[in-house]
């Protein structure tokens, strides 16, 4: 069932038009979507699957136009989740008409996709985007030739200059009112295929198939898994694989030929110098020797931008929250209520909200890489290394983001179209050491390894990458023996991201993080405060928190950790940065005063057990926000529990090994 739009019910249904936006990846579909709807966008999951569904609303001449952004696909096959969604929606959804977005500079694949959609007998408007770019490099497109050959309205648009947007809206309203398809375009596939199509159509005629029969026949003949098996179930003859491949090639070839002839007729001077600039940039960015240094330099810049530039704002927020906290206490005096407000809510929620600038900055940097067309290149360059670990270059990009925060990193796996690879990437992401764990590392390393803390930090990060990649091997070995997914993607030409697109990109993703993390942290902050304040009215030694820690102490017996450390780890499962604040609360040292912390913790740990502790913090249980994201992205309780159990087991075993080999080494020296 397609999702209802929020305004749909409130207005007369006559005045609402539902439009599906389809197109190949990277043709400027998102830009057009943004240009038409602005920030009036809603993100939900497609029913039944966890791929993001984007809807936007705008009005024109009294019509409410509800735009549904379909996932970008090169064709309407059945191999990736994106293809399935786009095709199912086009076939069975309730769209009144379809806009096919085609790249004016490089139209071939877009027109191929268009032919597939036209065969479903849909009302389609062709929107040729990036018309400004095409003009700039001297490509001339004859609109009337296109309309004549394809039998549908064609609009030239540019999301940069705004050209054609009004005309497109006009066409939507005008065309949606018509009851018939303007002109049916039927491609003739030659005698052999046509006679087979006729046979299949005749056979299906009385079978109450709700899908266009010709489309069904074409898909059945070419051996599309869904239609072929349905056809056989209905009683159509089984075809040999050779036959199916034969039909598939004939059909695809005919479509390509038709596209070629249309391009020849309607396009003048296509594909000339524009691509040479893109190729020149590519030559440098994917160069044999330069590509790796350039790639790491770019990543370094992303990190620098995410942490340094945004740090100023983070510090400001930090200051604001601590001022706010103490203001509450000084105004209303010290009591249970002000303690809840200042220590619990402002302290807890604030500790996460201070990361907001980093998150937004990271998405801005990421948005730039994505919109400019660099991301597919990075995937291309890194693919060989990732393949060794049963992943592909696409997984690499989303993992890299995990150093900032695992939540957006997991969300970024949506770009991975292979479901196996996507799931594995989601499950291994929590091992990428996020920025929330940094405060814990820094505190412990300063106490136990003041001289070599930088080297130790490097070691922890390296170990984190190693465990991530090895986990992919382990999970693949456990559940998917012997399968690797191919890397087939088109490298789009480079383009300068527009400010509007970057803004929408950053805001839409950052907003998501704020909402999700905000609610989880808010609740857990209150909970931790309650558990530490009661029943003894502020005496931590006798609080519920102490009881929890003491009752869990046995798990950590082999490590020899006290209940205070156990409690910090327990609360740290909510958010890793909570480890430090819990410690400061339990040991009664101020977070700022380093000497107090040193004194308290030195009594509990030696350097070896401190390292084991850090490794444990690095690997154990994803934070609540991450767990929630894993759940929402996989849609599976089983995988979420697996992720928790697996990471806990890895952390436990790994830090135990480090603890005992470390002790042995110390003894021998």
């Amino acid at each position: 069932m397609p999702v209802k739009s929020p305004t749909r019910r409130s207005e007369t249904s006559q005045k609402t038009v539902k439009v599906a936006l389809a197109g190949c990846p990277n043709v400027g579909k998102t830009s057009l979507f943004n240009a038409l709807t602005g920030t009036k966008q809603y993100v939900a999951n497609w029913p039944g699957v966890t791929v993001e569904k984007k809807e936007g609303i705008f009005t024109y001449k009294g019509y409410t136009i509800n735009l549904i952004d379909l996932p970008g696909t090169y064709s309407l096959g059945y191999s990736s989740i994106d293809e399935k969604i786009a095709r199912d929606y086009l076939l069975k959804g309730d769209a009144d008409l379809v806009i096919l977005v085609a790249d004016s500079v490089n139209p071939e694949q877009s027109l191929y996709l268009l032919l597939e959609i036209l065969e479903m007998e849909k009302k389609v408007i062709l929107a040729m985007t990036a018309i400004d770019e095409a003009k700039k490099i001297g490509i001339k497109i004859d609109r009337y030739e296109l309309q004549k050959h394809l039998g549908i309205p064609v609009v030239f648009t540019s999301s940069v200059t705004g050209e054609g947007l009004k005309e497109l809206k006009e066409k939507i309203v005008e065309y949606a009112q018509k009851n018939t398809i303007l002109h049916k375009m039927i491609l003739n596939y030659g005698e052999k295929v046509e006679s087979e199509i006729k046979k299949v159509e005749r056979f299906l005629g009385d079978k109450k198939v709700r899908i266009n029969l010709r489309y069904f026949a074409l898909k059945y003949l070419s051996g599309d898994p869904e239609f072929y098996s349905e056809g056989v179930k209905l009683g159509l003859p089984e075809l040999s694989e050779e036959e199916r491949i034969g039909y598939r090639l004939l059909i695809a070839k005919r479509k390509r030929e038709y596209v070629e002839s249309v391009v020849k007729e309607a396009f003048a001077n296509a594909g000339s110098k524009s691509l040479s600039l893109s190729e020149a940039i590519d030559h440098v960015l994917t160069h044999k020797f330069l590509s790796f240094p350039l790639f790491f330099a770019l990543m370094y810049l992303v990190f620098k931008f995410t942490f340094d530039i945004a740090q100023v704002f983070s510090d400001l927020l930090d200051l604001l929250f601590s001022q706010l906290g103490s203001a509450v206490v000084s105004t209303f005096g010290e009591n249970a209520f002000t303690s809840l407000i200042s220590d619990g809510i402002i302290g807890g929620v604030g500790s996460v909200l201070v990361f907001t600038p980093n998150i937004f900055a990271m998405f801005l940097a990421l948005g730039f890489l994505e919109e400019s067309g660099y991301l597919p290149r990075a995937a291309f360059v890194m693919d060989r290394i990732m393949e060794k670990f049963k992943l592909s270059g696409r997984a690499f990009m989303s993992l890299i983001l995990g150093f900032g925060c695992n939540v957006p990193s997991i969300m970024a796996t949506r770009a991975i179209d292979d479901p196996r690879e996507r799931l594995v990437t989601v499950l291994i992401t929590p091992f990428i050491s996020c920025s929330a764990r940094l405060p814990v590392y820094l505190l412990i390393l300063r106490i136990f390894f003041p001289e070599s803390s930088a080297a130790m930090l490097f070691m922890i990060y390296s170990l984190s990458i190693l465990i991530t990649l090895l986990s992919s091997v382990v999970i693949n070995w456990l559940f998917y023996r012997g399968r690797t997914s191919p890397l087939i993607l088109e490298l789009p030409r480079y383009r300068m991201p527009t400010f509007k697109n970057l803004y929408i990109y950053t805001w839409n993703r950052g907003k998501h993080f704020l909402k999700k993390a905000g609610t989880i942290i808010f609740v857990s902050a209150i909970l931790i405060w309650v558990l530490s304040y009661f029943p003894s009215g502020g005496d931590i030694e006798n609080s519920f928190s102490a009881m929890i820690g003491k009752s869990l102490e046995w798990i950590f017996k082999p490590f020899g950790y006290s209940w205070k450390i156990v409690t910090s780890l327990f609360y740290g499962a909510v958010a890793k940065e909570v480890v430090v604040s819990t410690m400061s609360m339990l040991y009664g040292f101020e977070e700022e005063t380093f000497l107090g912390a040193k004194e308290a913790l030195s009594a509990e740990m030696d350097p070896v057990s401190a390292i084991a502790f850090l490794i444990f913090v690095m690997a154990y249980i994803p934070c609540f926000a991450t767990i929630a994201t894993i759940y929402s992205e996989t849609g599976s309780l089983k995988w979420t529990l697996f992720s928790i159990g697996y990471s806990f087991a890895v952390a436990y075993v790994l830090s135990l090994i480090i603890l005992y080999t470390g002790k042995l080494v110390v003894m021998l020296i």
């Binding site: 096959g77 990736s80 296509a270 087939i488």
Partner: protein, 154 residues
Amino acid sequence: MKLSKLVPGVRARIKRLEVPGELHEKLVGIGFIPGEEIEIVQVAPLGDPLVCKIGNRNITLRKKEADFIEVEVVDEELPLILADDGTYEITRLDVGRRFLLRMKNLGIDPGKKIQISGGRYYIEGREIDLGYGEAAKIWVRRVSDAGEKSHSQK
């Protein structure tokens, strides 16, 4: 010849795809269709994957998948390593001072004829010994149609 064996800068035509299952549909959908011209434009720094150019589009593909795609060279001029048995004229040599010197000593010059038979190279009836890297830098053009019969042995 397999697409994975093709070298950058040489145009070829797709002959057939020997791809199993779902991947076939995906490759056909994105444009890998017999008859289409194809060229490798870029090889990733670590040797894999490749970027192929079909029409105006650049598409990445791993060598593993490129192994499924059978192509034939359409360019007149091609590097020696891609040449089937037959007689060829040497058109040019890629740069490299030591390489050029060694080639001169072997008697390899633009304009000379070179025969390939059973994967071995002959100039004026004398067999010459060339490494893979060297043969990749020598560009030749087919001169006679006498090579047709040796085509069939493949």
